[in-house]
């Protein structure tokens, strides 16, 4: 039950939606599937005075364009990402990641755009504050931080838990963003500020309209792993995503991308590891070394840094092995 009053609009187009957002300034929020926003409104960490619902707008089906890229409407339901034939055959990593989100009920409501723009999370933040944790923390506009009291003023270590964003970064995706002044495109990774208080670079009236994934190169391989406590309905303890291309010899790595989710205020990218793999021959010792480098996860939801590091190391190694095997399969 949401215990405060708000207005509700249901425009017929995204253009109208940005106009509405623009008129009402900071107090307005987009409502897509509501699976992230509604719980946050219930616990009153987000209290928009106007909801601009996108439920009146039909998403376009995923489309393969002339240049081989795939365009996916941001309003696409996660369950449709899981089941779509084009996505399954061309971007299986995306279909798999979408399938690991929550459970069926959430996936049939939740959208791609909403998934990418979901709020960062923290045990303290995602609950009511009637009688527990009454003092507002930095992210709620106050002056403390419960799990990390020793942090600098206004440092928030809430984590960004989308399963899909790390995959889209690995796939070099671009976001098509619609604002009051028209559209712009940004690389997926540029959506994030890295600041837990204010995780996104989007303007208040901007809408993620579509995601564009460029064609995959030859000898492309991928690995996706989401560590969870239980088998379903869990946010990630850590999300490990690998994309790489092998050279024609099937041994040398042309380039590799490693993205970690759920362990930072936005997706993390261990770039020195990526650089060390470039042009290297990916034999088991090198894989093991690569996996052990430079992992600096934020502790979150009761998981300490040491545990997260170890888990990420093991699954990075395993996912690299999967990715290489997939790349070889293709050659």
């Amino acid at each position: 039950m949401i215990l405060y009053d708000f207005e509700y609009e249901r425009p017929g187009s995204l253009k109208e939606a940005t106009a509405l957002l623009n008129e009402s300034g900071d107090g307005a929020r987009l409502l897509a599937g509501g699976t992230d926003l509604m719980p946050n409104m219930r616990v009153e960490v987000v209290t928009p005075s106007l909801l601009v619902s996108l439920s009146g707008i039909e998403p376009a089906a995923p489309e393969k364009r002339a240049d081989g890229s795939i365009k996916i409407d941001a309003l696409t339901k996660l369950s449709d990402l899981v089941d779509d034939e084009l996505i399954k055959s061309e971007l299986p990593m995306l279909a798999e990641a979408a399938h690991t989100v929550a459970g069926n009920q959430v996936r049939v409501m939740g959208t791609l755009g909403g998934n990418l723009c979901q709020e960062t999370r923290c045990l303290y933040y995602n609950q009511k504050h009637d009688y527990q944790f009454v003092e507002p923390c930095y992210k709620r506009g106050g002056d403390c931080c419960f799990p990390f009291p020793g942090n600098d003023h206004n440092t928030c270590w809430s984590v960004y838990m989308s399963d899909i964003a790390p995959v889209l970064i690995a796939l070099d995706a671009t976001l098509e963003i619609l604002g009051p002044d028209g559209t712009r495109e940004i690389p997926m990774a540029d959506l994030f500020t890295g600041d837990g208080l204010n995780p996104f670079t989007l303007g208040a009236a901007e809408i993620v309209q579509a995601v564009i994934v460029p064609p995959l190169p030859e000898r492309f391989g991928w690995g996706y792993h989401k560590t969870t406590v239980r088998g379903g309905l869990d946010f990630g303890t850590a999300i490990i995503v690998i994309a790489l291309q092998l050279a024609e010899d099937g041994e040398t790595c042309s380039w590799a991308k490693i993205i970690y989710g759920a362990v930072g205020q936005g997706p993390l990218r261990p770039t020195t590891t990526e650089i060390s793999m470039k042009s290297a021959v990916l034999d088991p010792p090198l894989i093991a070394v690569a996996a052990s480098q430079e992992i600096s996860p934020l502790p979150h939801h009761g998981f300490n840094k040491g545990y997260l590091r170890e888990n990420i190391r093991v699954y990075t190694e395993r996912s690299l092995v999967r990715a290489i095997a997939r790349a070889r399969d293709k050659s």
Binding site: Q127, Y131, R230, D234, Y307
Partner: protein
Amino acid sequence: MTRSNEFAVIGKTTSKTDAIAKVTGDARFATDIYLKNMLWARVMRSTVAHARIISINTEKAKNLDGVKAVLTSADMPDGKYGALVLDMGVFAQDKVRYIGEAVAAVAAVDEKTAARAVELIEVEYEELLAVFDPLEAMQPEAPVIHDDLAAYTTLFERTERAMTGNVNYQSNINTGDIEAGFAAADFIFEDTYEVQKQHPSYMEPNSTVADVDETGRLIIYNTTQRPHINQAILSSLLGIPISKIRVMPCHVGGGFGGKNRTLTEPTAAALALKTRQPVRLTFSHEEEFTSATTRHSGVLKMKTGVKKDGTLIASDVKLYYDCGAYAPTPNAVWLGAISSSGAYKIPNSRVEAFSIYTNKMMGGAFRGYGAPQANFARESQMDRIARELNIDPIELRLKNCLVAGDSLHTGQKLHSVRVKETLEKARDMVAWQSPKLAPNRALGVACGIFACGGFATSSIVKLNMDGTASVATGAMDMGQGLRTVMGQITAEELGISSDDVNVVIGDTDLTPFDVGIFGDRGTHTTGLAVKKAAEDAKIQLLEAAADAMEVDVSALEIKDKKVFDKSSDNRFLHFRELLGGGQYKKGGPIIGKASINPTEQPFDTNIVQGAASKMFSTYTFATHIVETEIDAKTGEVKVIKATAVHDCGTVINPAGLKGQIIGGLTTGLGYALFEDVIIEDGQVKNPSFLECRMPTAVDIPEVEFATVDEFDSRGPFGAKGVGNVSVINMAPAIANAVDAALGVRIKSLPITPGKILQGLEERAN
């Protein structure tokens, strides 16, 4: 299955009487009740863990538009309530003792206004030192949480430390000669185990709609496991006679012990009496996870003396159960004490069990009722003994397990025990050779005992004019299938079909007393009362028939809703001929009744002190074997398969049994691997289903189950219980499998990957 071929209805799966209504959404739950002019209540809760209340100012809240009433303890009669220790008021009296304790409540025209009003209540506290750890709370210098503890009313025999300091309950068991036992032991094993809080995680939050009818009677629509006890508690807390209260429970959206409480009823009722309008109070899920009850967390110390050949000879157990700020059910601690010897014969045994106050949310009844904690310790240690003495873990258990005729360490003589057969059958079902199957695969075994049945109950069976029957009992169905099973028992006894039995439960105006559903007592004890009431009705029916047919009762038999004269096949009367018309002129309506009130003390009073209840009529047993896959690099554990063998006496309804076994072991799985209500400085860090993490459908392993042949002479048609014992083996079985695979012994729950990795690291160093 057990002797089902002798029965017409017993042992056959009949579909649950409420299954369709629940699937279609027709079943009515408490939150489905909307009454005209209904007000919405909300509770104002403490923000501090331990404090004296200096003042409460409700003026601003009362003056808010739409607010109809604000209550604090000043507006209530002085009483306190609790199952055995009467320690809790409806609202905090003088002191608050945990974050989330009810301080005041508001009734308003809508939920938003009620929420706003709660924010306007001002409380001034004088904060006191708080204590959150049960062992610290036992220390003499610890802050005292209940200042007048010794003066509280208690309903058990007080032992030395009971009602002193922060100890609100203590029970002791002393069998044999503990010193001599340890002196005779070849090996002594000593371990300390730690267990966490687990929330019952019923989907439907606690909820009450209270109404005052035109005659001034209080009507309660609620979700509960114990309507008659609700009625009695409301009467004593509100100072109105029982007869002026009618509790009409709705369908229950899960209880698992957590609805063996009276949490929303008194507040809603007091507000309804004050405003003379219907009042609805439903807890939010945060309130459920911070202010209802969980399984007791605690520390368990276990010292066991063993002969070279594996014979258990001495056991010294100390149970420190953390009951939080109030002690709604010390009985769970007593059950922990009983089950702490496992399903074993230990000639020299000492148990000291404590229920200890801390400034946290309450620990209380939850499926397994004190036994999962104790059995985790006992069965983990049994496996350690087996490993260190190089004895097969199942052999070690078989060597020591109880058999019928043995006495439990409490001195209670056991008449129905088939734990040995459960071990043997489970061993055969998994083709057990040794626990380790492969480097990352292992089996883990555990067996256990649970005190079953007992406590007062009663039933009425009324025969209807059309030859059908109605059975009434004050017990409740929380989804476990009590309605269905009571229908089957009545049908079997009367020789009619289940479809011809109307089951009425819960409503205190229509049903006779039952203490509530917990402790594996529904089928076994309430079922026995139902059987006896049906038997009484049958005798009356036969007497009426004998009269009408002018023969002796002994010449009659019942078949197909007819009473036959045995001497002649074509001489019979239909039930409806007997029940309609004629007989009313003579004996009046046929109503059978029965009550059961076990009062006989089963324990040896030289052995047992401070028994919280003295009524367990029998015991249920089970063995579980889990097959697990363990990732030695990540510490992740997956249970692939669970094999469960139960000694539950006669199976009344096979589908119901299956549901109970799978449900119970799923709760045990969550307890073992995932669930934890994490409290830091008195605040619950994870008050949600998402973060408390009960298992989901995909976490449930393949389950294979069986029963062993047993007929318990004290149960209806030989039946015992199954709902609790199915919970208690999973945690130790999984811990044992982890140890078998990795050589890492986890002694604290839940068994997380982090703890396993740490264990591996310690072993490597």
